[in-house]
Amino acid sequence: MTPSLDAYVMLSSALFAIGFLGVLVRRNTLVIFMCLELMLVAATLALVAFSRFNGTEDGDVFVFFILTVAAAEVAVGLAIIVALFRLRQTIQVDRLNSMRH
């Protein structure tokens, strides 16, 4: 007995929602990034499930692009974080407010 498509979609939306929640509530930029990754991965899970259950192939191909993009995004993000940390000694979002007057 295989799990149904609904189960996969539910799972991936739950993951997505958890990631979204994390982005909203966490203040540590690194954790925020992780939560963003979680959201992207949730999307890939749904894609693969849809691909398999619907018999369409584009979804699987899309996963490749998503993973690549996610990796690039993380790399750039971490580079910025490190550079910023060098200058400011913090990566807490609420302390990054030099531009509020």
Binding site: L5, V9, S12, S13, F16, G19, F20, V23, T29, I32, F33, L36, M39, L40, A42, A43, A46, L47, A49, F50, F53, N54, G55, T56, D58, G59, V61, F62, F65, I66, V69, A72, E73, V76, G77, I80, I81, A83, L84, L87, R88, L96, S98, M99, R100, H101
Partner: protein, 501 residues
């Protein structure tokens, strides 16, 4: 899978049809080659190569402007007159950004060639973005644009504000990408579902999805997907609930990049939105319409009210850009009832391009090394130091405010006409209020530049103002000003196009 189908699939890849993007990419690579190949002393010339190359591409593009509607790359892309128009748009913006960067980069201790390289790549990706008719292509192009912009935003990395802006932009951009992505996934999944009628095997294609949506005009998951996709795009254009990143990022980013973000990135977002709304989500107008309407109203109000109390010019221009996004949204909202709105969006974008770059040009010239700290007060008495810059600034701001004889007026007029035709009276009221409020702060800026006593201008700013824009940038700014005035009353051959073909 046998080879003949493969060959036929591969044959769809008509590389010639994306020659502007290709040549931009090659030009970008060529810059890197030059950087490694040439001695250090010659590096200062490389930006010139970049600008000359872009001008060349622009020239060829204008000569070969006419393009029929034609799908290419197996339906990933759609070539169209609008696409050509946007290609020109992005090329002009990238040329201007390169010009501004040539002015601004020497003040910073950062490498220069890479900046131009990234600008070129981003411009090419933007072209692909607006031409794409497939969600995979859309996502890839969009991400290329955003990743490029992440780097450009945080380019002046010795300035913590710039990096902070880059980080904020990155987090927000990634969040919006994720929302967009999940929306796409939901749409893809629903559209391919064998359990539903109108199921399509090409769920990533706009056309296929459209067919499905028409067959199922009230599917819940599809609606959820559409809302997510719309919010993803709304992030990119800075529409209301998703505009929070704008002021900080605009302030922190290098001024040329701010211009790029404000103009080209936003335009790309709008064209994507327009294409989605007209070509894909049309059967869900019951959902898209109200969502966008609310968004437009809130965007106009928020942008203008928030801009009122800003003192930093980049924040000001950023928030005013939010309100412009609202005006364009007004046209997008109307598109389902009034096809002429398409032309209006394009015209508005062009008017916005011309005016914004004029303003950003002046900002760049006056910015100097610490370019995230320009206050309104720094412009006091600009007219006395440099009448030319003050004139350009005034014309740009006038156009942004939507005052005749500038192109901005024409753009707003078209939008209003269309909104009226489409019957969005409430939105129109909001928009009118928005214009009046916006005149207040735009005029406040002009007032500072023109009517203040000369004592207020800081010596350094004054020095930069007297030094002027330099020949090339000066010509560009003059051309922008002229264009903004001429387009205000003479649309010439554009006219028919605007009126809806």
């Amino acid at each position: 899978m046998d080879f003949s189908t493969l060959r036929s699939l591969a044959a769809g890849n008509a590389w010639g049809s994306v020659w502007p993007e290709l040549s931009l990419g090659c030009l970008a690579l060529f810059l890197l080659v030059l950087e490694t190949g040439l001695p250090r002393s010659m590096h200062a010339r490389i930006p010139v190569v970049s600008i000359a190359g872009q001008l060349g591409i622009l020239g060829v593009l204008l000569l070969n402007f006419d393009t029929p509607y034609r799908a290419t790359f197996n339906g990933l892309l759609m070539l169209s007159p609008q696409g050509q128009l946007m290609r020109v748009f992005f090329l002009i913006s990238s040329i201007l950004v390169s010009l501004l960067a040539r002015r601004s980069l020497p003040w910073q201790r950062v490498p220069r060639v890479e900046f131009h390289h990234i600008v070129l790549v981003v411009a090419a990706a933007m072209m692909l973005l607006v031409e794409s008719r497939n969600f995979v292509m859309l996502f890839v192009a969009l991400e290329t644009v955003t990743v490029g912009l992440y780097i450009l935003v945080s380019y002046y990395r010795s300035n913590p504000k710039t990096l902070e802006a880059g980080l904020k932009y990155l987090v927000m951009g990634a969040l919006s990408s994720a929302l967009l992505l999940f929306g796409i996934v939901l749409l893809y999944g629903v559209a391919g579902s064998p359990a539903l009628s109108g199921r399509t095997l090409e769920a990533m294609q706009y056309g296929g999805l459209r067919g499905f949506l028409e067959a199922n005009p009230d599917n819940f998951l599809a609606a959820a997907g559409i809302v997510l996709v719309l919010s993803g795009v709304a992030f990119k254009i800075g529409a209301f609930p998703f505009q929070i990143w704008i002021p900080d990022v605009y302030q922190g980013a290098p001024t040329p990049v701010t211009a790029f973000l404000a103009v080209a990135s936003k335009a790309a977002g709008f064209i994507v939105l327009l294409v989605l709304v007209t070509e894909v989500f049309a059967p869900y107008d019951w959902l898209v319409g109200p969502v966008l309407t609310l968004m437009a109203a809130a965007t106009i109000l928020f942008g203008n009210l928030a801009a009122l109390k800003q003192n930093n010019v980049k924040r000001l221009i950023g928030l005013s850009g939010v309100s412009h996004a609202g005006f364009i949204l007004l046209a997008v909202v109307s598109v389902s009832r009034e096809p002429m709105a398409v032309g209006a969006v394009y015209f508005y974008l062009y008017a916005y391009l011309i005016a914004s770059f004029a303003v950003f040009g002046v900002m760049t010239v006056l910015a100097g090394p610490d370019d995230s700290e320009q206050e309104l007060g720094d412009y006091a008495g600009l007219a006395r130091e440099s009448p030319f810059l003050a004139g350009v600034l005034a014309c740009g701001l006038g156009s942004l405010a939507g005052i005749p004889p500038f192109a901005g007026f024409m753009a707003k007029l078209l939008v209003f006409v269309i909104a009226f035709k489409a019957g969005h009276f409430g939105l129109l009221g909001v928009a009118v209020a928005g214009v009046v409020v916006s005149v207040y702060y735009y005029f406040g800026w002009i007032r500072t530049a023109y009517f203040s006593d000369e004592a207020a201008i800081s010596p350094k700013t004054a020095e930069r103002a007297r030094a002027g824009a330099g020949l090339t940038l000066g010509i560009a700014l003059a051309a922008l000003t002229l264009g903004s005035i001429v387009l205000g009353f003479y649309q010439g051959p554009l006219g028919n196009w605007l009126a809806g073909h």
